[in-house]
C-alpha cells in the first residue's frame, strides 16, 4: 500500500542528501514529522543534522510577531469589547457565546474576509442592490431578501439585526485591543503573517509543505508567495479514487489544491482503486457493545497475526469512548500509546471538584459554626482520592453520619476529632476548610491539589494508575494557576458563582493530552492525529452519523448562506475534511475494521455514510477489495432461576428459635406479607442500608404526632377527660406547640435533624401536625367523657405455641399507643398516620383467613393482636380495640373494631389462630419462600436479592 511519508522522505533525501539541515519540512501535524524523520533516517549512511521538521502552527508562531493567547484571555478581551456595543450577561453566561464569536472572528481572518461587508445589515430592498461584491452577491442578497420578507414587526428579527449590526464594531475593537497587547488568536496572527509574508526572511533553502488538504485563504497566500519565490514546494497525499471521482467529497480540497499548486510527488497513489484490502464492517448495539466488539475483533486479529500491533492504529473519532476503548484492548498487545486528549470530564478528579463545589456552596452557618450538607460530605469521603487513603476510617465515619442521621454536619467535632492524627487527617482538615471568596477558593483548590499529589506520590497501591492520577492533578493545578493569573493580571474580581461556573465549564470542556511514545506498541489516537501516516491495520470506532462525520451541526453565529457567500467553510467543508482523513487512512491500510453502534437512539444516529459509500461505490471501483458486514450481538442466556426456598433444616430451625424470641404485630405482618422477607428481616437480620432522612418520613411524622399527643395527655392518666378538658388540652397545644415540637425532636435522637428551618418541607409538616391535632381534638370531644388508662404502654408476655408435639415458647410484644375506659369498656387505641383500613370484626372463616393471609388486613390483625395481648396481661374485662386513622379523622374519628366490645370467646379463638400462625414459623415442613404476589415486593428491601 502507498506510504505518503515514505515517498516524501525519499524525495527530500534525493534532492538534499548533501545538506539536509538546510531544508524545512512542514506537516499539518507534529506527529507526521516524527514519522518523517524515522523514514529519513532509514535512508542515510552516517548521522546527520536533521532537517527542520515542524507543524504549520509552529511555523506561524515562529514567524509572526504576535503571541497566540489562550481562549480564556481572548474571551475576556472579547467580553470587554462586546460590552462596549451590546448588553452582556455575567461573564460565565457570556463565555459560550463569546467562544462562538471568537471562532467566527478567527475564521473571518483565516479566510481574509472583509468584515465590513460581511456584517453589513440591510433594512430594506433598495439597500440590497450593490450592497455586496459580485462574487458574494447572489447568496447574500437572497439571505437579506428573506430576512426582509418578514413584514410583521418581529422581535427576534430585530434582536438578530441589533446584534448583527454591531458585530463589525465589536470585531474591530477586539482586534485593535489585541494588537495593542501584541497577542492574538490563530486567525489574526496568520492573517498578519500572510499579509507580509513576502518580506519575511526564512533560514531555509527550501520548504516543503507536505500532506496538506484543506487550506484557508491565509495558508494559500503563504504557500503561493513562497512558491513564487521558489522557496517552497508542495507535496500532496492524494489517491486516484477521490481525485478522479469528482463527487467524492474526500477529494474536495485536494482537487482544488492540485489545480492551484503542483504536486511535488509525481502522481496520485492508487491504494483505494487497486489496493488489495479487507474491510470489515461491524455493528453492535450500544456504544459499550461497539467498544467491546472492537476488543473482541482486535484480540482475534492479534492472535491470528502476532506482532501486528506494531503497525496497528485504533482511531477514536469520539474522544468520550477513550477509557472504554482502552479497557477493551486485549492482553496482547503489551504496549499501548495514546496520542489524544482524555476529556478531563471523565476523570475522578473532575468529580472531586464538583463535589467540593457543592460542598462549599451548600454549607450553612449555624451557631457560629459552618456545617456541610451530609450528602456532599459522604460523597467527598467516599471519593476515591479521599477513600483510598484510609478506607476503614472512612467507612466508619460514613456509617456514623448515616446512623446519627444529621442533615448538616459540623466537620470539626463530628469528623476530624474522631480521626486519629496523621497524614490522612490533614487532607480532610484541608477539604473541610470553609471558603467563600474567590481567592480563598482558588488557594483552597490548589492546596488540595498539592496535598493529593503528595499523598499519591507516597501511595504504594495501584502503581500503574498512579501515574495518570498524577497527570490529572498536574493538569488541574496548572489550569488553576493559569486562571488565577489571568484574573490577577486583569484584576477582574468575579463573584463566587461566576467563578465556579466558569472554572467548571473550563474543566468540563478541556482535555488532558498525553505525550507518549508514538513509535512503540499499538497506537490509540483521534482521527486528526492519524493524518498522513500509514498503518497497515486500522480499527475505527464510532462509525455513526453525527460523529463520522459530525454532519449538519455547526456552531457559528454567521448564517450558512452568508458563510457560503463569503467563502467561509460550512459543515459541508467539515464533512469533506473528515472524509479525506478516513479515505487516506484506508488507502494506506491492508486491514480495516469499522465499528458502529447499531442501536438507534435519541443521541445515536444511523451508521455512517462512509459505510454506504464503501459498500455501494468503492467496492465496485476496486475489484481487489473484500468487504464484509457483520452484526455482532451478545447471546441472550436464560437468567439462572433464583427461586429461593429456605428449608428449615436443623441449623436454620435453631437460628429461627435463636432470633425469633419475640413477635410484634409488625413482625407478624412481615411474615404474612412474605415468609422469606421475614426470614431475611427477623432471622438473618439483614439490615437495609440506612440513609440520612432529610425530610420528615411517614414514620417520623407518626412518631412526632404520637409523642406530642402523649405529652398532652400525660397529666390525665387515670383521670376522666371531659369535653372541657379537651378544650384545655387543645389550648395548651395551641400555645406551647412550638415548644412541644422542639421537645420531641430533642428527645428523639433520630429526629433531631428535623428542626432545620431552611428545610421548608419540615416547616410545612410541622404545621400539618398541628392541624391534625386540632382535628383530632374535635373528634375526641365527640367521645368525651372517657378515662385515660394508660399511654404508650409496652406489653409483653410469654406464650407457648405447639409445633409437632413439642411446645415452643415465645413472647408476644408491642407498644399500645393508648388505653381508654369508656362506659366500662376498655378501648385499646392505636394512632395511624399512613393509609390504613380497619374492617369490622366478623366471626367467620373467610375473615380469619384473610386476616392471616392478606397484608391489607394488617390494621385488623394488629388491633386484635393487642386485644389478645391485653387479655393475657391485664384483666380488664370488656375490651374493644381500634385505630385513629388520622388520614380519615375528618369524617371517621375513632374506629373501633367490635360493635360494643369483643366477645372474650372471639378473642380466645383469635388467640388460637394466632398461635397456629406463629407455630407455622417454627414448622420444619413449611419453608421460607418468596411470595407469589409480586405486588407485595414493592417496598421490600430484599428486591434485588429476589430479583423482583
Amino acid at each position: 500500500m502507498p506510504d505518503f511519508i515514505k515517498s516524501a522522505a525519499g524525495l527530500v533525501y534525493k534532492k538534499h542528501k548533501e545538506n539536509l539541515k538546510t531544508v524545512a519540512v512542514i506537516f499539518p501535524s507534529r506527529r507526521a514529522g516524527l514519522y518523517f524523520r524515522k523514514e529519513l533516517s532509514a535512508l542515510i549512511e552516517n548521522p546527520v543534522w536533521s532537517p527542520a521538521v515542524f507543524s504549520l502552527n509552529d511555523f506561524v508562531l515562529k514567524h509572526s510577531e504576535l503571541d497566540t493567547a489562550d481562549t480564556l484571555t481572548l474571551v475576556f478581551e472579547l467580553y470587554e469589547s462586546y460590552s462596549k456595543y451590546l448588553e452582556t450577561e455575567s461573564f460565565d453566561e457570556f463565555y459560550p457565546w463569546g467562544e462562538m464569536l471568537l471562532k467566527d472572528f478567527d475564521v473571518i481572518d483565516k479566510y481574509m474576509v472583509d468584515a465590513d461587508l460581511l456584517f453589513k445589515s440591510i433594512k430594506d430592498e433598495k439597500e440590497i442592490e450593490q450592497a455586496f461584491p459580485i462574487e458574494a452577491a447572489e447568496q447574500a442578497e437572497l439571505f437579506w431578501k428573506n430576512i426582509i420578507k418578514l413584514q410583521k414587526k418581529n422581535e427576534y428579527k430585530d434582536k438578530f439585526i441589533e446584534i448583527w449590526s454591531h458585530l463589525n464594531s465589536v470585531y474591530g475593537h477586539f482586534r485593535e485591543s489585541l494588537l495593542g497587547k501584541k497577542i492574538a488568536y490563530e486567525g489574526l496572527s496568520i492573517r498578519k503573517l500572510a499579509e507580509n509574508i513576502s518580506s519575511i526572511e526564512l533560514p531555509y533553502e527550501k520548504i516543503y509543505f507536505a500532506g496538506f488538504n484543506s487550506l484557508n485563504k491565509c495558508e494559500k497566500e503563504i504557500f503561493l508567495s513562497l512558491i513564487n519565490r521558489n522557496a517552497a514546494e508542495t507535496l500532496f497525499d492524494a489517491d486516484k479514487y477521490f481525485v478522479e471521482d469528482k463527487k467524492q467529497e474526500a477529494g474536495h480540497f485536494i482537487r482544488q489544491n492540485m489545480k492551484a499548486f503542483k504536486n511535488g510527488l509525481s502522481d496520485e497513489t492508487s491504494g483505494l482503486t487497486e489496493g488489495k484490502k479487507n474491510i470489515n464492517i461491524i455493528g453492535s448495539s450500544l456504544s459499550s457493545g461497539m467498544v467491546k466488539s472492537f476488543g473482541y475483533e482486535l484480540k482475534k486479529f492479534i492472535e491470528e497475526n502476532p506482532g501486528a500491533e506494531k503497525n496497528t492504529a485504533v482511531i477514536l473519532p469520539d474522544e468520550n469512548i477513550l477509557l472504554p476503548a482502552l479497557y477493551s484492548i486485549p492482553e496482547n498487545p503489551k504496549e499501548i500509546n495514546i496520542t489524544m486528549g482524555l476529556p478531563f470530564r471523565s476523570t475522578p478528579l473532575f468529580a472531586l471538584i464538583r463535589i467540593i463545589q457543592k460542598l462549599q456552596n451548600g454549607k450553612i452557618y449555624e451557631k457560629g459554626k459552618y456545617k456541610y450538607y451530609h450528602g456532599d460530605v459522604i460523597r467527598l469521603l467516599l471519593h476515591p482520592y479521599i477513600k483510598f487513603l484510609f478506607p476503614e476510617q472512612i467507612f466508619g465515619a460514613v456509617r456514623k453520619i448515616k446512623e446519627t442521621n444529621l442533615a448538616y454536619i459540623e466537620p470539626q467535632s463530628f469528623l476530624l476529632d474522631t480521626l486519629e492524627k496523621g497524614n490522612s487527617k490533614d487532607i480532610l482538615e484541608l477539604a473541610f476548610k470553609p471558603v467563600s471568596d474567590v481567592n480563598e477558593i482558588i488557594s483552597y483548590i490548589s492546596g488540595l491539589c498539592d496535598m493529593l499529589t503528595l499523598k499519591l506520590e507516597e501511595y504504594e497501591g495501584n502503581e500503574g494508575n498512579k501515574i495518570f492520577q498524577l497527570e490529572y492533578l498536574f493538569f488541574l493545578s496548572s489550569n488553576l494557576n493559569r486562571l488565577r493569573d489571568i484574573l490577577e493580571e486583569r484584576n477582574t474580581n468575579l463573584n463566587r458563582t461566576t467563578f465556579w461556573n466558569l472554572f467548571v465549564q473550563q474543566l468540563n470542556s478541556s482535555r488532558i493530552v498525553f505525550t507518549g511514545e508514538p513509535l512503540k506498541g499499538i497506537q490509540v489516537m483521534g482521527l486528526l492525529e492519524s493524518r498522513n501516516i500509514k498503518y497497515e491495520n486500522v480499527f475505527i470506532l464510532s462509525m455513526n452519523e453525527g460523529v463520522m462525520p459530525a454532519g449538519d451541526t455547526f456552531n457559528s453565529y454567521i448564517p450558512y448562506s452568508l458563510r457560503k457567500a463569503f467563502g467561509l467553510p460550512t459543515f459541508e467543508e467539515k464533512d469533506s475534511i473528515n472524509a479525506y482523513y478516513i479515505y487516506s487512512l484506508i488507502s494506506k491500510a491492508d486491514n480495516i475494521f469499522l465499528f458502529y453502534n447499531a442501536e438507534i437512539g435519541s443521541d445515536v444516529k444511523e451508521k455512517s455514510r462512509y459505510i454506504l459509500q464503501i459498500e455501494n461505490e468503492l467496492k465496485s471501483v476496486n475489484s481487489n477489495l473484500s468487504v464484509s458486514h457483520t452484526i455482532a450481538s451478545y447471546s441472550l442466556k436464560k437468567n439462572p432461576d433464583n427461586d429461593i426456598v429456605i428449608r428449615k433444616d436443623e441449623s436454620i430451625l435453631n437460628a429461627v428459635k435463636e432470633n425469633v424470641k419475640r413477635i410484634s404485630p409488625s413482625d407478624l405482618n412481615t411474615y404474612i406479607n412474605c415468609t422469606l422477607q421475614f426470614y431475611f428481616r427477623n432471622v438473618l437480620k439483614l439490615k437495609p442500608e440506612d440513609e440520612v432522612e432529610e425530610i420528615l418520613s411517614a414514620a417520623s411524622f407518626g412518631t412526632v404526632f404520637h409523642e406530642i399527643a402523649r405529652q398532652l395527655y400525660k397529666p390525665y392518666i387515670g383521670k376522666t377527660v371531659r369535653e372541657k378538658d379537651i378544650d384545655e388540652i387543645a389550648a395548651t397545644a395551641e400555645i406551647d406547640y412550638n415548644k412541644l415540637f422542639e421537645d420531641v425532636l430533642n428527645r428523639k435522637e433520630e429526629l433531631r435533624h428535623l428542626n432545620l428551618t431552611e428545610k421548608g418541607r419540615n416547616a410545612l409538616y410541622k404545621s400539618v401536625i398541628k392541624k391534625l391535632l386540632n382535628r383530632f381534638f374535635e373528634s375526641e370531644k365527640t367521645r368525651a367523657p372517657f378515662k385515660v388508662v394508660d399511654l404508650e404502654k409496652w406489653c409483653e408476655t410469654g406464650i407457648s405455641v405447639n409445633r409437632d408435639g413439642t411446645e415452643q415458647g415465645i413472647n408476644l410484644a408491642g407498644k399500645v399507643d393508648r388505653i381508654d375506659e369508656k362506659e366500662n369498656v376498655f378501648e385499646i387505641i392505636d394512632y395511624k398516620t399512613g393509609d390504613s383500613k380497619l374492617r369490622a370484626f366478623k366471626n367467620d372463616d373467610k375473615f380469619y383467613e384473610s386476616l392471616f393471609l392478606n397484608p391489607d388486613y394488617k390494621a385488623n390483625l394488629q388491633t386484635l393482636f393487642y386485644a389478645y395481648l391485653i387479655s393475657l396481661t391485664e384483666n380488664y374485662g370488656k375490651v374493644n380495640a381500634g385505630i385513629y386513622a388520622l388520614k380519615e379523622i375528618a369524617t371517621e374519628g375513632l374506629q373501633l373494631m367490635a360493635e360494643k366490645f369483643f366477645n372474650p370467646e372471639d378473642i380466645k379463638l383469635f388467640g388460637e389462630e394466632l398461635k397456629n400462625k406463629i407455630a407455622e414459623i417454627f414448622n420444619p415442613e413449611i419453608p421460607f419462600a418468596k411470595t407469589d404476589d409480586a405486588k407485595r415486593c414493592e417496598y421490600c428491601d430484599y428486591k434485588s436479592i429476589c430479583g423482583r
Binding site: 524515522k38 533516517s41 532509514a42 548521522p47 536533521s50 462562538m100 428573506n146 430576512i147 418578514l150 410583521k152 427576534y156 438578530f160 456504544s287 459499550s288 476488543g295 484480540k299 482502552l326 477493551s328 486485549p330 504496549e335 495514546i338 468529580a351 463535589i355 460523597r379 483510598f388 476503614e392 498539592d450 496535598m451 495501584n462 500503574g464 505525550t515 454532519g551 455547526f554 448562506s561 435519541s602 445515536v604 455514510r609 459509500q613 458486514h629 455482532a632 450481538s633 447471546s635 441472550l636 439462572p640 429461593i644 435453631n654 437460628a655 426470614y679 438473618l684 442500608e689 421548608g760 418541607r761 416547616a763 410545612l764 392541624k771 398516620t833 380519615e888 379523622i889 371517621e892 404476589d933
Partner: protein, 1059 residues
C-alpha cells in the same frame, strides 16, 4: 391545478413507509438536487433511520433496474407531473440522486420532529435568550423532582407561600386525603409540560394564577359556592324534618312514599344527596300537593321543598363545578412558581427540557417566519412531508404549519400521512383531531391543491383477518350509534368512515384465522389475572405449539403493566421463555445485581445486606462455585466465611480476606465496574444486560458524575427504567402493551384480557376544563377529574369532548391490537360490567352480518387454521449482513502497559500542607528552549503563556535563568560566540533521533552540554559519550562534553562537570 397538498389515510399494514418513500423519490427524481430542500419528518429516531435506509435501498435497486413495480409507479407519478420518462431514465436518475445523497448526506433532511425543532431552537438561542449551546434534558421526572423539592424548601422562608400551603393542607385534611402533598405536587406539576394547560392559559384573557392573593381569593369564592349550596339544603332539611318528626308523620303521609319529600329530606341529611326524586318533580310541575294526607304543615312543606327544587336546578351546575375544581386548584395556583423554578433550572444547568421544546418554539413562530428560520438553520426547505400525523400535537403542528404554508404557496409539495384509527398517544399530547379536520381547516387557502387518498391494501395480514376486521369494526361502530349517549360518537364515526376503514386484502395471502372466546369475568387468580381467560390462554398456547408455531412467532398484547406481569408469569409457568418489559429490565440480570451489590459493598464494607446479595448473585451466575442458597445460611459468621472463601482472587487484598484489594478503593465508577467485570470473570459470560449496565455506568459518568456514590443514587431511582431493546435473537414469546406494539407485527397475536374500559373513568383520568361563567372565568383553566356529573357542570362542553376522545382512544386500542397479526388472532373477552369494551366486542360479534353465524355459544371462529409451515414464505434473496453471536468480551487493565511521558512536576513537602514544586525540571525545560542569553525574556514569556509558570513566578525564574547564563563557568555557552544548535536533532541510520540539550559548533569543533537535575549519576556521562561518538561520525574532530547540574528544588547550578 396540481395537487401539491396530499393527505394520506394509511390504515394498518397498508405499506405506509413505502408510500412515503415513493412520494419522496418522486420529488427527488423529478429534480436530483431536491433532496437538499425536502424535509421529511418522522416520529421516532428509529423511523427516521428506517426511512433513510429505505430511500437509499430503493435508489440502489432502481439504479440497478430492479424494483420494476416501483419504477413503473414512479414513471407515471412523474408523468402526471409532466415529466415524460422511460424506466431507463428512472434508473439513470436514481443513480444520480443516489450519488448526490451519498456524498452530500448531511443535506439529506429526514429527521424526527423533535430534533428538527431543537435545531431551530438552537439557531435562535441568542435571539430567544436561551443559553447558547444548551444541552437537552430528556428526563422530565428528574427535573420535576428537583423543582418541586425547591418549591417546598422555599416554604421555610416564604411566609405567603407557607400560608397558602396551610390552607391547602387544611382543605386536604377535610377531604381525608393524605397530608403528604409532595407527590401531588409532582404528579399534577407534570402538567406544566402538557399542552392543554398552556392552551387554556393562552386562550384566557385575564388569569388570577400567578397572583397568589387573587388565587387564594378565588379559591375562597369557589369553596363558598360549595358550602353555601350544601348548607342551604342541610339547614332547610333539618328544619322541616324536625317539624315533620314532631308531627309524627311517616313516609306514607307523602306522595311517592319512600321516594317522597320526607324521604328526600332525610336523604339530604344522612347521605348528603341533594337531587330531588323524579316523582316529586312531576307533582311540583302540576302544582300538586307533596303530601297525601291533609296536614297543616303541607303549605310550608310544599313551599320550601318547591324552593329547594328550584334552588337545586338553578345552582347545581355551579355546585358541581365548584366541587370538581377545589380538588386541584391549590396545585394549579402555584404553577407560576413552578414555572419560574423551571426557568431557573434551565439557566443553571444550561439545558432545555425536551418536553417543553415545542412550547418554547411556539413563542418564536409566526406565520411568515419560515424564510427567517430557513436562513438561520441554513436549509431552505421547499417540500415537506410529515409522518404519523395522528400523533402530532397542536403545538408541534403550529410550529410546522408556517413551513407547510410556505411550501404550498411556493407551489411545492406538502404531504401528510397518518391514520386516525391508530392514534393512541393522546396522553403524549398527540391530537388526532388535526388529521381529522384541523389541517384542512388550517390550510383552507390551499383547498384546491388538496388531494386526499386512502391506502386501501393491507400487505400485512392474511385475507381472513382483513375481512374480519373490516366487518367487525363496521358493526362495532354502527352499534354505538344506537346508544343514548350517541352524542359521544362523532369522532368515532368520522374516524371509522367506511372508505378509510375497509381494506382490500393483498392477493398473495389467502388464509388467516381468528378465534374469540367470550365469557363472564369471574374471580381473580393468584397472579391478579382472570382464571377463565388464563385457562383459554393455556389452550391457545398448546394449539399453537401443535400447529408448529415458534414462541418467537407469538405476540401477546395487554393493556397495562400489571396484566403484562400476570400473563408473563402464566406463560413462563407453561415453560415458555417470555420477552416482556420486565424481563428486559437490566436489573433482572443476576450478574448486574451482583455488580450493584459489589459497588455498595465497596462503598461500605459493613453493609451485610450488600455482602450477602453480592455473594448470592455471584453463586447464581457461577453455578458450581458454591450452592447459592448457602449464602443465606443463618449467622453472619458463616456468610462472612463463605464470602471470604468464594469471592474470586483479586477481590481481596493479598493475604487479607477482610479488606478489598486496595485498587478497588481508588477508582471512579466506570473503572471500578470494568475491574469487577474482569475480577469476577464476567468477561467470559457477557450478555446484553451486562453490556447495557456497563453502558449505563459509562453514560452516567460521562454526563453526570463519575463517583460510585452518585451512580448508586442514580441507579436507585432509575433501575425500573433501564432496560435492553428486544434483541433480534430473543427466542421467547413477546408480551407487550398495545402502545408498545404500535407499528410492530407478529404472525400470531393473543389478546388475553380484552376488557378495558371504554369511557372516561373519574378515578383515574383528569382533564383540563374552563368556563366563561363567573367566578370560574377568573382563572385560565382547571384540572379536574373526568367524572360523569361534569356533564351537568359548567365544564360540560370540555367534558363531552374529553369523553368522546377517550372513547375513541379505547376503540383505537382495539383496532391497533386486532391489526397486528399476519396469520392468527386470538382474543379472550371476559365480560365484566355492561360498560367496557368487552361487551361491545360481544355485541358486534352477535350482530355483524357474515360474522354472527360463526359466533356460537360464546366462541367465535373465522377463517382457516393452517400449520405454520404451510404459511411460511420462502425467504426472499440472500441476507448479506451476517450475524455473529458471542458471549465474551475484553476487559483488561490498560494503564499498566500504557507508555506516557509524565508531565507533572514532582512535589516535596516542606512543613505540613505547604509544598514546593521541583524547579529543576522546569529550569531544564526553559534552558533547552533558550538560544542565547539575550532571549531569556522571550523564553520566560512564552513559558508563562503556556501555563508553565505563573506570573508571580516569572521574576523568580527569570532571575534563575539569568543567574545561570551569566555564571562564570558557563556564560560563553550562551554568548553566541559559536553557532548554537538548539532544538536540532541528529538522525542516525538506526533510526535513533538524538536530542542533545545544547550543542555549539564551530567548523570541526563541537561542544555538547547536557542539563541534569538532582544527584550526579554515571549514566549521565555515558549518554554524553554516545553523543560524542555520533558527532565524530558527523565529522566533528574535537568534541567537548559538559554536564550542567541543576538543584532539584533550588533550580540553580549545583555543579558543572566535564565528562
Amino acid at each position: 391545478m396540481t395537487k401539491n397538498l396530499k393527505i394520506f389515510q394509511a390504515s394498518a399494514g397498508s405499506g405506509k413507509t413505502r408510500t412515503l418513500v415513493k412520494e419522496y423519490l418522486a420529488i427527488v427524481l423529478a429534480n436530483p438536487a431536491a433532496y437538499k430542500s425536502t424535509l421529511a419528518i418522522t416520529f421516532t429516531n428509529k423511523a427516521t433511520e428506517e426511512m433513510k435506509s429505505r430511500v437509499v435501498d430503493y435508489l440502489i435497486a432502481l439504479s440497478r433496474g430492479n424494483e420494476k413495480q416501483l419504477a413503473a409507479e414512479l414513471t407515471d407519478e412523474l408523468n402526471k407531473k409532466g415529466r415524460k420518462l422511460s424506466e431507463n431514465d428512472i434508473a439513470g436518475l436514481s443513480a444520480e440522486v443516489l450519488k448526490n445523497i451519498l456524498h452530500d448526506y448531511s443535506n439529506f433532511h429526514i429527521s424526527t420532529i423533535d430534533s428538527f425543532c431543537i435545531k431551530v431552537l438552537r439557531s435562535f438561542a441568542k435571539e430567544l435568550g436561551l443559553p447558547v449551546g444548551f444541552d437537552i434534558e430528556l428526563d422530565t421526572d428528574k427535573v420535576l423532582e428537583d423543582i418541586t423539592a425547591k418549591l417546598l424548601d422555599k416554604l421555610g422562608a416564604d411566609e405567603e407561600l407557607a400560608k397558602y400551603f396551610d390552607d391547602y393542607i387544611l382543605y386536604r385534611l377535610g377531604e381525608n386525603s393524605t397530608w403528604n402533598v409532595a407527590n401531588d405536587l409532582k404528579e399534577i406539576g407534570a402538567e406544566i409540560f402538557g399542552e392543554e394547560y398552556w392552551r387554556k392559559k393562552l386562550e384566557s384573557k385575564d388569569d388570577v394564577y400567578g397572583d397568589r392573593n387573587k388565587t387564594a381569593a378565588l379559591i375562597k369564592e369557589i369553596n363558598k359556592i360549595k358550602y353555601s349550596f350544601e348548607n342551604y339544603f342541610e339547614s332547610n332539611a333539618k328544619k322541616l324534618v324536625s317539624r315533620i318528626d314532631s308531627n309524627g308523620l311517616s313516609h306514607n303521609d307523602f306522595a311517592g312514599k319512600s321516594r317522597g319529600a320526607y324521604a328526600y329530606l332525610q336523604r339530604i341529611l344522612n347521605k348528603f344527596e341533594y337531587a330531588p326524586y323524579e316523582g316529586m318533580r312531576t307533582v311540583i310541575l302540576k302544582d300538586g300537593d307533596l303530601m297525601k294526607t291533609k296536614n297543616p304543615l303541607s303549605a310550608s312543606i310544599n313551599k320550601t321543598v318547591r324552593e329547594m327544587v328550584n334552588y337545586y336546578d338553578k345552582n347545581l351546575a355551579a355546585y358541581i363545578t365548584a366541587c370538581a375544581v377545589v380538588k386541584t386548584i391549590y396545585n394549579i395556583g402555584i404553577f407560576s412558581d413552578l414555572l419560574s423554578l423551571l426557568e431557573e433550572y434551565r439557566r443553571d444547568n444550561r439545558v432545555m427540557i425536551s418536553a417543553d421544546v415545542n412550547n418554547l418554539l411556539r413563542t418564536l413562530i409566526s406565520d411568515d417566519i419560515s424564510p427567517f428560520i430557513y436562513e438561520k438553520i441554513g436549509t431552505r426547505i421547499r417540500s415537506i412531508m410529515i409522518d404519523e400525523f395522528q400523533d402530532t400535537s397542536r403545538f408541534q403542528w403550529n410550529n410546522l404549519k408556517p413551513l407547510v404554508v410556505n411550501a404550498l404557496s411556493e407551489r411545492n409539495t406538502a404531504l401528510i400521512v397518518g391514520d386516525v384509527k391508530q392514534s393512541i398517544y393522546r396522553w403524549r399530547n398527540g391530537d388526532m383531531r388535526l388529521l381529522l379536520e384541523g389541517v384542512e381547516k388550517d390550510l383552507k387557502a390551499f383547498s384546491e391543491m388538496l388531494s386526499k387518498e386512502t391506502l386501501k391494501t393491507n400487505f400485512r395480514s392474511h385475507k381472513n383477518i382483513v375481512d374480519f376486521n373490516n366487518r367487525f369494526f363496521k358493526t362495532l361502530i354502527a352499534n354505538f350509534s344506537n346508544d343514548d349517549d350517541n352524542y359521544l360518537n362523532d369522532y368515532l364515526r368520522d374516524s371509522y368512515e367506511e372508505q378509510s376503514l375497509v381494506q382490500n386484502e393483498n392477493g398473495k395471502k389467502n388464509d388467516g384465522y381468528v378465534k374469540i372466546n367470550v365469557f363472564p369475568y369471574d374471580k381473580e387468580s393468584e397472579t391478579g389475572g382472570n382464571l377463565q381467560s388464563e385457562q383459554y390462554t393455556r389452550e391457545i398456547l398448546k394449539e399453537l405449539k401443535s400447529d408448529g408455531y415458534k414462541p418467537s412467532d407469538v405476540m401477546v398484547l395487554v393493556r397495562t403493566g400489571s396484566e403484562s406481569i400476570s400473563i408473563s408469569n402464566l406463560i413462563s409457568s407453561e415453560g415458555y421463555d417470555v420477552v416482556s418489559e420486565r424481563s428486559l429490565l437490566v436489573k433482572s440480570s443476576s450478574a448486574v445485581r451482583m455488580l450493584v451489590y459489589l459497588l455498595k459493598y465497596i462503598s461500605d464494607n459493613r453493609n451485610h445486606l450488600a455482602k450477602t446479595g453480592a455473594l448470592y448473585n455471584y453463586c447464581l451466575t457461577n453455578p458450581g462455585k458454591a450452592d447459592a442458597l448457602k449464602s443465606f445460611k443463618s449467622g453472619w459468621e458463616e456468610t462472612d466465611k463463605m464470602f471470604a472463601d468464594t469471592m474470586p482472587p483479586g477481590f481481596f487484598r493479598d493475604g487479607d480476606k477482610k479488606r478489598v484489594n486496595s485498587v478497588l478503593n481508588d477508582l471512579a465508577v466506570y473503572d471500578l465496574t470494568e475491574h469487577l467485570i474482569n475480577i469476577f470473570g464476567l468477561d467470559k459470560n457477557a450478555d446484553p444486560y451486562l453490556i447495557k449496565f456497563l453502558d449505563a455506568v459509562f453514560r452516567y459518568s460521562k454526563e453526570n458524575d463519575s463517583d460510585v456514590t452518585s451512580f448508586l443514587e442514580y441507579w436507585k431511582s432509575n433501575q425500573e427504567k433501564l432496560s435492553i431493546d428486544i434483541p433480534e435473537n430473543a427466542g421467547g414469546i413477546r408480551v407487550m402493551t398495545i402502545h408498545k406494539a404500535k407499528g410492530l407485527q407478529g404472525k400470531v397475536v393473543i389478546i388475553p384480557y380484552a376488557n378495558w374500559e371504554l369511557d372516561v373513568n373519574g378515578n383515574r383520568s383528569r382533564m383540563w376544563a374552563s368556563s366563561d361563567k363567573t367566578p370560574f372565568n377568573k382563572a385560565s383553566g382547571f384540572f379536574v377529574k373526568t367524572q360523569k356529573d361534569l356533564s351537568e357542570s359548567y365544564f360540560a362542553s370540555d367534558y363531552i369532548t374529553e369523553s368522546s376522545l377517550t372513547r375513541l382512544d379505547n376503540v383505537n386500542l382495539l383496532y391497533v391490537a386486532f391489526t397486528r397479526p399476519s396469520e392468527r388472532l386470538y382474543v379472550n373477552v371476559p365480560v365484566k360490567r355492561n360498560t367496557g369494551i368487552a361487551n361491545r366486542i360481544a355485541g358486534a360479534l352477535n350482530s355483524a352480518p357474515e360474522l354472527s353465524k360463526n359466533f356460537n355459544d360464546n366462541v367465535f371462529e373465522f377463517g382457516v387454521k393452517k400449520s405454520a409451515d404451510e404459511l411460511r414464505e420462502k425467504s426472499t434473496g440472500e441476507y448479506f449482513v451476517n450475524v455473529n453471536e458471542r458471549n465474551e468480551l475484553v476487559s483488561e487493565l490498560w494503564y499498566r502497559k500504557t507508555i506516557i511521558k509524565p508531565a507533572y512536576r514532582k512535589l516535596k513537602t516542606e512543613q505540613q500542607h505547604s509544598v514546593k514544586i521541583n524547579r529543576g525540571v522546569l529550569i531544564h525545560e526553559l534552558l533547552s528552549g533558550l538560544r542565547s542569553a539575550n532571549d531569556v525574556g522571550e523564553c520566560i514569556k512564552s513559558a508563562h503563556l503556556n501555563g508553565l509558570i505563573t506570573s508571580s513566578e516569572t521574576e523568580e525564574y527569570k532571575n534563575l535563568l539569568i543567574q545561570i547564563v551569566t555564571d562564570r563557568k558557563v556564560k560563553e555557552w550562551f554568548d553566541e560566540s559559536k553557532t548554537v544548535m538548539t532544538e536540532s536533532e541528529i538522525l542516525t541510520k538506526e533510526g535513533i533521533i538524538l536530542r542533545p540539550d545544547r550543542v555549539l559548533v564551530n567548523d570541526s569543533e563541537a561542544v555538547i552540554i547536557d542539563y541534569k537535575t538532582g544527584r550526579e549519576r554515571k549514566e549521565h556521562a555515558e549518554q554524553l559519550n554516545e553523543y560524542e561518538s555520533v558527532l565524530r561520525l558527523m565529522g566533528y574532530g574535537d568534541v567537548k562534553k559538559y554536564i550542567l547540574y541543576i538543584g532539584d528544588y533550588e533550580g540553580s547550578i549545583t555543579k558543572v562537570r566535564e565528562a
